[in-house]
């Protein structure tokens, strides 16, 4: 075990996490990327793979940010940022958009996480703080409906607490919904037996990850 000091950089950066996840997106997939780190994933999809991005506010075939000066306030993504439309895109209303989600038509969604339990439960919308303004957006719909759900998150909180836990203590987003977790330290599958390591980030040792994981981490 190699405990890191606070100043020591170990594991992947946010960009590297996104790049690693992007390798696992199949050609031809329909993908919904959440706000934050998930948004970075689009940059790293390997050349030669075509991915169609869905944004739940009514667009399939979302393209990259527009050039400065050509933003359209009525062409935005779920994070309310300006986007563009790729050839082959389509617009639709919210009920149709969530029919795509709820109906299992989206192949993959990538979401951030506050906590992920060993059984795949996800908490990512609320810390349950009493004076917080509750806001859920489309997270619960996405995790309930999309075929495969990847979480991308730092392995621990800013204060060093595990985000991969035996059971979530924050309010849940969904039950048993996460398939795989990409962190700065490792890629981890949710299996019927709990967390199972897929691979360690370069330079990271198993014990280091287990120490920072709140539940047993099975060997690959």
């Amino acid at each position: 075990m190699t405990p890191a000091t606070a100043s020591e950089r170990i594991g992947r950066t946010r960009e590297q996490m996104a790049e690693r996840l992007a390798q696992d997106i199949a050609d031809g997939s329909y993908v919904n990327l959440g706000i934050g780190i998930p948004e970075l994933v689009a940059k790293y999809v390997p050349v030669g793979r075509e991915v169609v991005y869905h944004t739940e506010n009514g667009l399939l075939g979302m393209g990259p940010s527009p050039a400065e000066g050509s933003e359209d306030p009525e062409l935005i993504n779920a994070g309310k940022r300006h986007v563009t439309v790729n050839p082959g895109g389509s617009f639709f209303h919210h009920a149709d958009s969530f029919a795509m989600i709820r109906g299992g038509h989206i192949d993959l969604c990538v979401l951030g996480a506050l906590q992920i339990a060993a059984n795949g439960d996800l908490a990512n919308w609320s810390t349950g703080a009493p004076d917080a303004i509750p806001a859920v957006g489309g997270a619960m719909d996405l995790v309930a409906g999309v075929k495969k759900v990847f979480a991308i998150t730092q392995h621990t909180t800013k204060t060093g607490e595990p985000k991969l836990v035996p059971a979530c203590t924050y309010p849940l987003t969904g039950l048993g919904v996460i398939d795989r977790v990409y962190t700065d330290l490792a890629v981890i599958d949710i299996t019927p037996d709990g967390f199972r390591l897929v691979e360690l980030s370069p330079g990271v040792e198993f014990g280091y990850v287990q120490e920072r994981t709140g539940a047993p981490l099975l060997q690959p």
Binding site: V52, H54, G61, N86, P87, G89, F91, F92, R102, G103
Partner: protein, 236 residues
């Protein structure tokens, strides 16, 4: 690269398996995917359950599929129309079963199947024989029955144009059941009069976004079912 084109109707239906549930678009002849149905007859799959508003007319298209003995059950709102004799004979002979569903309930069950809704309540058919055996429940003092979402293994849909991503637009009242059926099937197959490159259909006017469509096949000049029937044609 995404390219959902297949070379022919035969190729489009090659993997339909015995016992499959197939949604077939169309209301009367409008939107009936005759070329895809004929390819399915050639292909040979049998013991099919067909979900379709009607049962075809004459002895071409859907009626020919029935006549060929490939359909063990139809889920349908109106299985008799002018020039429709095949299904009535099969039904009376006990060879094809019928699940009769009110037209709007059929459309909504299909839409629900595509939208991840396992069941919903509707006032349609309350107090009628078509409500028998169904759960009844009161909301705000009115009676409703529970209806279930409907899904299929394949959908056969006729359209006007599609792009290689599967984005589809329709022609007039031939749109009918196509969009919800495409949503509700595992493999949605569209025959279109033309297939264009991505960008060839304005994103604002797409009716079935490509995510719902799995295969597109060009049938540039589809037959008119009513003309075939009038000419006494049969298939094969």
């Amino acid at each position: 690269m995404i390219d959902k084109r297949v070379g022919s109707p035969s190729e489009a239906v090659a993997d339909v398996f015995d016992g499959a549930t197939i949604m077939v678009g169309g209301f009367g002849e409008a939107g009936s995917p005759v070329e895809l149905i004929h390819a399915l007859i050639d292909q040979g799959a049998t013991d099919l359950t067909v979900v379709s508003n009607n049962t075809g007319s004459g002895e071409v298209g859907l009626a020919a599929l029935l006549k060929a003995g490939r359909v063990s059950k139809v889920v349908c709102s109106f299985p008799r129309t002018a020039n429709s004799t095949v299904f009535p004979e099969l039904y009376r002979a006990g060879k094809t079963k019928l699940e009769l569903v009110p037209q709007g309930t059929l459309a909504e069950r299909i839409r629900a199947g595509g939208a991840g809704i396992p069941a919903f309540y509707t006032a349609t058919a309350v107090g009628t024989p078509l409500a028998e055996g169904k759960e009844q429940r009161t909301f705000d003092g009115r009676e409703f029955i529970l209806e279930h979402g409907l899904r299929a293994d394949f959908a056969l849909v006729k359209a006007k144009s599609a792009d290689t991503h599967g984005n589809t637009i329709y022609n007039k009242t031939a749109r009918n059941f196509g969009p919800p059926m495409a949503m509700a099937s595992n493999v949605a197959i569209v025959q279109a009069e033309q297939i264009v490159e991505p960008g060839g259909i304005d994103p604002e006017i797409v009716v079935s976004p490509g995510i719902f469509i799995d295969r597109v096949v060009e049938v540039a000049s589809p037959v008119h079912e009513s003309e075939l029937v009038a000419a006494g044609a049969t298939y094969p």
